[in-house]
Symmetry: C2
Subunit: 298 residues, 2 copies
């Protein structure tokens, strides 16, 4: 990749991340607002240092179709609330039992299990509250955003469904198509929905929405493969969570080996970029993001 | 109370409950739809035999303001999904650690903690998916329903907020105003929202909405006091959960004694009925429901 371009996209992502963080700051109740314990827990996890990939995809797609401004930013930030809810619940002892998340003790390690469960519930709910705030975009579109988000979280091809299949597959050797369906649901659905929400908020045509869906789907899968590879290749310091602990989980490197997995991720990124071919230069940032995601070190 | 009237309201509630159950049957994925384990868990808890109070309040208020039909029924059923989510999560070992719910083993006892956590997440999400289904009512109203529901679940005076304060007050002697604020949030918020959602769906005026809010608020608190009283007075068989286990929890009978608590509930019901005075005979069913709630045996 062109090093100049890489600096440029990295700087761009930093700027966007700061905008998203500013909006999350405005959405979340203050730490001392009663009941303070849960509000501290919400902020602890949301501001533990995520990449804000999902909001940034939403913003970038929205921009491509002509939406921008504060409304789009609020919708984008809602996606991060959903993502953070899923991290908190996934880390719970009864689920993945992870003590470390983004380099810090996970929510239940700091606040206890009860508050971690409730913090997840609260963030999921707050996402729906934020995205349904009156007057963001024409109400028909906004209702569609709510529905899109709910579907991405649900049991039918959404995050919860993916987590269930993942839990039930742990310890066994998953076939390639099972692995792909787990990832498509557990990680892919929200990434795809993030891209789609940008298009829906902007009132994109159904054709436009289809292109963005294809882009989001490929990017989501590539991102997950890159994540699996980081677990094998990355250092604990860079990744910010325990690495190598996917040992009994179905992963791409385990199933296909490191090199084949890397090529699969690269091909998916090429396909994602291809899905936006009709948008020429205007979709350049979205292509850069796709490339950036599989080149990242954490 | 007039015995003839009591029979009549009981029959009416049975009919309404059956309608709500039919709608829940249509909303929930089939038991054998993959991933089947979670769909079994959702149905297990939803069809464990609730009174469907929240949906029925929504239907009755909707009817008062001229809404009816399949759209209102779907919105009403969504409220039961939210209620069931909260029961599953509240029963978890890390929270209230209840082995029994509605006379049956609680979700985590049957399906394990991981699936119970995810089943709660799924029901909460499914509620938002159902209530945002395109075309139920004019989209501006529908968006407001989503927002209303999210607020009722959230940390600011909603169910999660109430549960947090309740957890933190356990074992101590709560003052009356703390107890009331716990109940207003933990149980009251969704009951109030249920009544409000019927009015919002029907496009009621802000004045109408204010009357219904007052009714819902009083009914919600009366219902909780009746629940506390059942815990003291009821038999385990009738209540369907362990009774007397509120021993270290702040409750009305513990704070005010049984007789004063009963009078408080009766006064609240009278106030709830009074809030609907302007609607005369048309609000008779809502008044009957309020009376019925504190006369119930389970």
């Amino acid at each position: 990749m062109n090093p100049a371009l890489e600096v440029s996209i990295a700087e761009h992502l930093d700027t966007e991340r700061a905008r998203v963080d500013g909006e999350l700051e405005r959405i979340l109740p203050a730490e001392d607002e009663p009941p303070a314990s849960i509000h501290r827990a919400l902020r602890y996890s949301v501001f533990a240092g995520g990449k804000r990939l999902r909001p940034i995809l939403c913003l970038e797609v929205g921009r491509l179709f002509g939406a921008a401004g504060d409304s789009l930013l609020r919708i984008a930030a809602s996606l991060e609330l959903v993502h953070t809810y899923s991290l908190i619940h996934d880390d719970l002892p009864a689920l993945d039992n992870d003590d470390l998340r983004r380099g810090k003790p996970s929510s239940h390690r700091v606040f206890g299990e009860a508050l971690a469960i409730l913090a997840g519930d609260a963030l999921l709910t707050l996402a729906f509250e934020a995205v349904s705030q009156p007057g963001l975009v024409p109400s028909g579109r906004q209702l569609r955003l709510v529905h899109e988000l709910a579907h991405a979280v649900g049991t039918r091809g959404g995050m919860v469904g993916g987590q269930v299949v993942d839990l039930e597959t742990t310890g066994s050797t998953a076939a390639g198509n099972v692995l792909e369906s787990i990832h498509a649901a557990k990680t892919g659905a929200l990434i795809r929905a993030s891209a789609r929400c940008g298009a829906i908020a902007a009132g994109a045509s159904e054709d436009g929405l289809a292109c963005v869906s294809a882009y989001g789907e490929k990017v989501g899968l590539a991102f997950q493969i890159a994540d699996d590879l980081l677990d094998v290749l990355g250092s604990r310091e860079a990744v910010g969570k325990a690495v190598g602990k996917d040992g009994d989980k179905a992963t791409y490197p385990a199933l296909y080996g490191v090199e084949v997995s890397q090529r699969m991720a690269e091909r998916l990124v090429a396909e994602a970029c291809g899905a936006l071919a009709g948008y020429g230069e205007r979709a350049q940032r979205l292509r850069e993001i796709a490339h950036f995601l599989i080149a990242r070190q954490s």
